[in-house]
């Protein structure tokens, strides 16, 4: 006798769960996309910031060995990501190519100075840190001048700040929307069972006994919805990687795994607590109030 519910009813119940799982998974997918955006926004802003460079212009006639020592010193400091030595000759060749004119012949000598291009870590690529770095660089006796695009540094930082705030506000908004949507979906599912919950109380079941199967099922649905959302996100990542490989790199795999774990946890926790509160509400309610 056990478990032989007529197929039709079982199909109907399953399909109602199915649609709730799908709607929750779509919301989780949205949350995941936002997470992806947040993670990549950081990578992107770091990429832009780390492409900023400071040119350390060296004094005329600085010895090669001193230059190498200085470069090593710089490489060893916390704020330097990488350095690149550009000799007088290389600088002249670059400039010649840029101008398209043989200025060395015209002038009769090479007026350019050797430089070390310093690329900073993103965390130090802001106006305050750079001006501090500039003064510490000037303390080296071989350094003639330190040059960087002050306005560009300021502009990049300012724009990144603005974009980050917008993305953050957008994500917060989306997060609240996700919470509300999932909570509503679950409340509707539980609402449809309010009379059943009431009957369960009338036949002597304790509140926790009634709650248990609802909570178990909702956690399970949370996992399924989150896995579906992760599959969707995986698909999106795959497409982006194929179409725009420069936007996202495979090295982000760790972050992607982190993101999918967060989505699963988010799905379970949110489903669980929404169900808990929704069921508790109907457990507290008097029978007469269930009709409204």
């Amino acid at each position: 006798m056990r478990g032989k519910d007529p197929g039709f009813t079982r199909r109907r119940i399953t399909s109602s769960y199915f649609s709730s799982i799908i709607s929750i998974s779509l919301v989780l997918f949205m949350v995941g996309l936002t997470g992806l955006l947040l993670l990549n926004a950081r990578t992107l802003s770091d990429y832009v910031k780390e492409s900023l460079n400071i040119s350390v212009i060296l004094k005329e006639n600085t010895r090669e060995v001193d230059i190498r020592r200085l470069q090593k010193n710089l490489d060893a400091s916390d704020w330097v990501k990488s350095t690149k030595y550009v000799s007088k000759e290389e600088a002249a060749a670059d400039l010649q190519e840029e101008l398209g004119e043989d200025f060395l012949n015209f002038l009769g000598y090479n007026p350019l100075l050797a430089t070390i291009d310093v690329y900073l870590y993103a965390a130090y690529a802001n106006p305050d840190s750079i001006s501090f770095i500039e003064s510490s660089l000037m303390e080296y006796s071989d350094v003639k001048e330190v040059y960087y695009h002050e306005s560009l540094v300021f502009l990049i930082n300012e724009n990144i700040r603005k974009i980050s705030i917008s993305i953050l506000i957008f994500s917060l908004f989306l997060f609240v929307a996700a919470l509300t949507l999932i909570n509503n979906t679950i409340r509707l599912t539980i609402y449809s069972k309010r009379f059943i919950i009431n009957t369960m109380q009338l036949v002597g079941a304790t509140r926790s006994f009634i709650r248990k199967p609802f909570l178990k099922r909702s956690a399970y649905h949370g996992i399924v919805a989150a896995l579906l959302a992760n599959i969707f996100i995986g698909g999106i990542v795959y497409i982006i990687q194929n179409e725009y490989p420069q936007v996202m790199k495979l090295q982000d795999l760790k972050e992607l795994i982190f993101l999918s774990v967060v989505i699963i946890l988010f799905g379970i926790v949110l489903n669980y607590f929404s169900t808990f509160f929704a069921v508790s509400k109907y457990l507290r309610m008097e029978e007469d109030d269930l009709f409204y």
Binding site: M1, R2, P6, T9, I13, I196, T206
Partner: protein
């Protein structure tokens, strides 16, 4: 020594929300007693039954059901009080999302039954008692009103409760089935359980004599002669 009362109400008002339905309700029921509860529609029979079952809180007065003082009843005690009462609801109150077997299975599991074999055996027993043992796989909506009513009676019998409250259990049944239901309920009460049955079916009342309580004009009173019952209907 006479057994102690299983239900005792002393001067209790019965409210439905803020409306006073019955006042000065006093009565005592002993284990094994069979009691009819009669009265016109809206006279307060169901409200009284719901108060005994703690569906309606008792605001004032002193009442005790199966050892629980109703006015001091804590929320967590309600489930345990209800386990001592088997209720046959007027509107069935079956779990519509599962079949009959699973409806009964839920009640047993909710009241602490663990062994699968024991559960199946008990369900078979009570379904046989109401002659529905071959319909366990059906969903509640696939049964007729009378069959659903019998399932509800079977459910009330599951845990062999000390009290059976039946709110118009024969309301949806043909005369033959009604009689067999009454007989079943009387058997149950002979087995030592108190049975309170709210009813409109005076033919049965006359045929199966028992103590009768009547709700009328906001009061509950004892009826001692058939004449009074007749006049009422």
């Amino acid at each position: 020594m006479l057994p102690a009362n299983i239900i005792e109400f002393n001067d209790c008002p019965i409210y439905q929300k803020d409306n006073l339905i019955l006042s000065h309700v006093s009565f005592k029921i002993k284990p094994g007693e069979f009691v009819y509860l009669i009265g016109k529609v809206g006279s307060g029979k169901t409200s009284l039954i719901k108060t005994i079952n703690a569906q309606i809180p008792l605001k004032e007065g002193d009442a005790e059901v199966a050892g629980y003082k109703l006015s001091q009843l804590k929320r967590k005690d309600i489930a345990y009080l209800r386990r001592k009462i088997g209720i046959v609801f007027q509107d069935f109150q079956l779990l519509n999302d599962r079949n009959i077997f699973n409806n009964l299975d839920f009640v047993l599991k909710a009241t602490g039954w663990k062994n699968k074999m024991d559960i199946e055996k008990r369900i078979k027993e009570v379904l046989e008692k109401v002659e529905l043992d071959y319909k366990g796989y059906k969903m509640p909506h696939q049964l007729s009103g009378g069959e659903q009513q019998r399932v509800v009676i079977a459910r009330a019998l599951l845990n062999e409760p000390e009290i059976i409250l039946a709110d118009e259990p024969t309301g949806n049944l043909d005369p033959g089935t009604s009689e067999s239901i009454i007989k079943t309920l009387m058997d149950i009460s002979n087995g030592g359980r108190a049975v309170i049955m709210a009813t409109h079916n005076y033919t049965l009342l006359k045929k199966f004599h028992a103590r009768t309580l009547k709700c009328e004009s906001g009061r509950l009173s004892e009826v001692n002669d058939d004449q009074a019952i007749d006049l009422d209907f």
